[in-house]
Symmetry: D2
Subunit: 286 residues, 4 copies
Amino acid sequence: MASYGFLGLGIMGKAMALNLLKAGFDVTVWNRSPEACAELIEQGAKQGKSPKDVAAQCDITFAMVSDPEAAKAIALGENGVTKGIGEGRGYVDMSTVDDDTSKAIEAAIQTAGGRFLEAPVSGTKQPAIDGTLIILAAGDESLYQDALPCFEVMGKMAPYLGPIGQGANMKLVVNMVMGSMLTAFSEGMSLAQKSGLDANQLLEVLANGAMANPMFKVKGQMLLDDNYATSFPLKHMQKDMRLAIALGDKLDQPLPTAAAANELFKQARKEGCADQDIAAVYKVVK
Amino acid sequence: MASYGFLGLGIMGKAMALNLLKAGFDVTVWNRSPEACAELIEQGAKQGKSPKDVAAQCDITFAMVSDPEAAKAIALGENGVTKGIGEGRGYVDMSTVDDDTSKAIEAAIQTAGGRFLEAPVSGTKQPAIDGTLIILAAGDESLYQDALPCFEVMGKMAPYLGPIGQGANMKLVVNMVMGSMLTAFSEGMSLAQKSGLDANQLLEVLANGAMANPMFKVKGQMLLDDNYATSFPLKHMQKDMRLAIALGDKLDQPLPTAAAANELFKQARKEGCADQDIAAVYKVVK
Amino acid sequence: MASYGFLGLGIMGKAMALNLLKAGFDVTVWNRSPEACAELIEQGAKQGKSPKDVAAQCDITFAMVSDPEAAKAIALGENGVTKGIGEGRGYVDMSTVDDDTSKAIEAAIQTAGGRFLEAPVSGTKQPAIDGTLIILAAGDESLYQDALPCFEVMGKMAPYLGPIGQGANMKLVVNMVMGSMLTAFSEGMSLAQKSGLDANQLLEVLANGAMANPMFKVKGQMLLDDNYATSFPLKHMQKDMRLAIALGDKLDQPLPTAAAANELFKQARKEGCADQDIAAVYKVVK
Amino acid sequence: MASYGFLGLGIMGKAMALNLLKAGFDVTVWNRSPEACAELIEQGAKQGKSPKDVAAQCDITFAMVSDPEAAKAIALGENGVTKGIGEGRGYVDMSTVDDDTSKAIEAAIQTAGGRFLEAPVSGTKQPAIDGTLIILAAGDESLYQDALPCFEVMGKMAPYLGPIGQGANMKLVVNMVMGSMLTAFSEGMSLAQKSGLDANQLLEVLANGAMANPMFKVKGQMLLDDNYATSFPLKHMQKDMRLAIALGDKLDQPLPTAAAANELFKQARKEGCADQDIAAVYKVVK
């Protein structure tokens, strides 16, 4: 039976590793603050000593950390994955990182003889717990095939998207559409109310038409409640929109709707909503 | 048993009147070119002689015609509804007309002693056939209550939205959101493909996430097939966006996302796509 | 020697009529509140009894009133210009009115046998006093030729722009460019200051380059002084931008820069700047 | 008498060095292809052997090269400026480079004991010949004072803008305003013509009003002639707009007008106008 490693047990990582354990997989875990491992050890996980150690022991090692710096430290640091990974072993970084980071890690893993896959996810805490993440995999295709049983446990879909970078690109495209959709929706909600319409009726009409989607339902309720409890931080959305527009710039793709929406998210950041939920863009629209 | 009239048997009107008949209602029909009545007479409808005649005979008369001119002709013309409608009878105009037309018809019907409701619909041919239109009713609330059994047969929802004008306003808001969503989606589809991503995979990812909605599915396939067969003419969408933005102007509501999207629809009109489906906005985005 | 009438002696009209007098022209004046005539009578003007009376006595009658309603009252009312104007006499409306008003007045004047010219002006109080207005004339070309000596006294340029409507159209185009230029400038002023640059240095650099223009100089100082004393009311600019965009809509001309700028002016109106100077758009940009 | 070096004798550099010579300064020149030095030697310049050599001999050395790579090679390369510059000598880079390049060069020059100033210019060939460039200086203020006599010969203004980076920032702000002004102007020119107005009359009206500026005059004629001969390449403008918007992003400054204008420049790049003059943005507007 294959053995799997999991590095990084934050809110997302812990839920994902737990799903691997529940599915009966052989899992070795490691986290910077070791206490985060306790719950998983109780559920049957083995304790890894370092990223190097985990990568050396397991057929495939997954990582889920919060930013590019942490991703580089875990992969390239003194006791990092590249130091332990041997010929043919696999490393799957599920963190959301930039292109340069992803390519630097890929190069180092390949130099060390390993295989590498980037697999950023779409979805937050609840989908991580429910095993319904959308996993955007790109890089070594044989590793993708080997990791698929794990992906099936952690997510509801995990398409293989091509060479390194395409996982990140897909995420940018999806979030760019989401950001524009949210400002469009916010404008509609505000226009409806200024016209004297009942916003609940607008939500109901939208929910029954061709545009019906879970986001309008969830965010619509938040707008009505003036509740911007953070599920997806606005500053991250704005960063993704900026990067998507930069990608369009590189590829000669004008994106006027996204550019207008991006300015609204910047306005919201200016008004102090950076750490609130993306729904807070409504505050500068209304 | 109440009796109902139906004026205007185009693609939409015929399907709607047929649903009333199938539900067992007593229906009298009239159409400018009388041959359009044949199929409905066969199904048990009575033949009306003129809008005046239908309005005089039926408790509630519905109308579904193609533009404000036709709506005014039917309601206010020589043998129009206002000439026949008596004290307490009802007239429900389900056509999409502008505010001024709606208010002019309301005033004339009230002067004649009748009750008036505007009830424009969201949805095209298939929902009309299936009885799954979204009916946006506004005006006389007692007439709304009386017409509800018919609305339930013709549509899947028919909220009462307030005084005359609010049916039209709701439709503008909904179409404004739709237009912005469609340009946002088009930008995402094009950016994905320029990045080397597979557009089918983008559609799949979107279909599994928080933004999943029928429109992305249907229009996404059209974009991929380069098929712009008209279901909702682009020029009508652009007109609704213009009117929604004008409404925002009147109400001090900035709408930057919608304004950017509107310019793309205008660009598409400039490029000769006025009579194609709204999906043709993709041609100026890509 | 030709005789001239002047109707409407507000801030603008009084200054313009005074310039005609100073140039030695024979001028008959009329104003709704007769006391406004006193200063001009002192300077040698004759007192007219009504618009009808002035139009009947003078070869060419000019009008400068504040809005379409006043323009219609003076031209079409009981003692209006159309009642007095005879075969061949001329009427020049220098007020800023909408297309429909202009066309209605033209039709009535022509029916009465007169000739009509619309000649809205670009420029405010000081240029009116200095005789440096820009006069945008359109309509009857022979009347234009006859009025030219007066235009030369009241303005620094007075191109003939074509049939009725083109004076108003030119004004919309000019104001649309001005509005976009002002939001672009405001964005630059704010970005400079947030970058730690000295805004006075930016003004100096702009004043020495290819973009050097009087507006940046004047409005730049206003922005720095946080002084929005009204020279051109923001709500009028926003109205002109709306109308210019509507004109583009009619002519299949996308105007994305103007549309984005217009949303900023709407935002400024929303924030309570409607009656302040157009420079107040800076308050929502910074 | 102070001695000056000049590195880089392209179209701009040659004109600038010639102005120093004509003003009677002691100038040593160097260029990668030595033949470019001939004309200047004839006019009295001395021939330098390398950037290192020039920097070692002269009190202040100026450089004007085409891109960041060339700027780094000249400053940091084997026979670069840093190898020759001694305690207290000065180096003024007048090339347009990015922030990182400028800071890297500053650090290396300071380590070598020298003083550094960035001084990108606004203006193209003709102003370089005429000595009417706008020089945007930032960095070592004592060096700025020492270089001022030279700046006065090469340009018409040379404000000191603060620490390294502010020269580049000022240039971005200025070009951002220029780009937005140009799309606004293009929209006005096209709307005027679609309305049936004469574009020459619009140019004349603009030339006489508060917006009168040299750019409208020059570019206006180019639009009318359908002449896009490159004076300022469109792709460089689009790059500057992208960088200005990125600067705004970093500083929480929304820039909706510039963002809309930037999308038009991207559209123009997409349509193949990257190497044409910035005026070619008109081609996607009209």
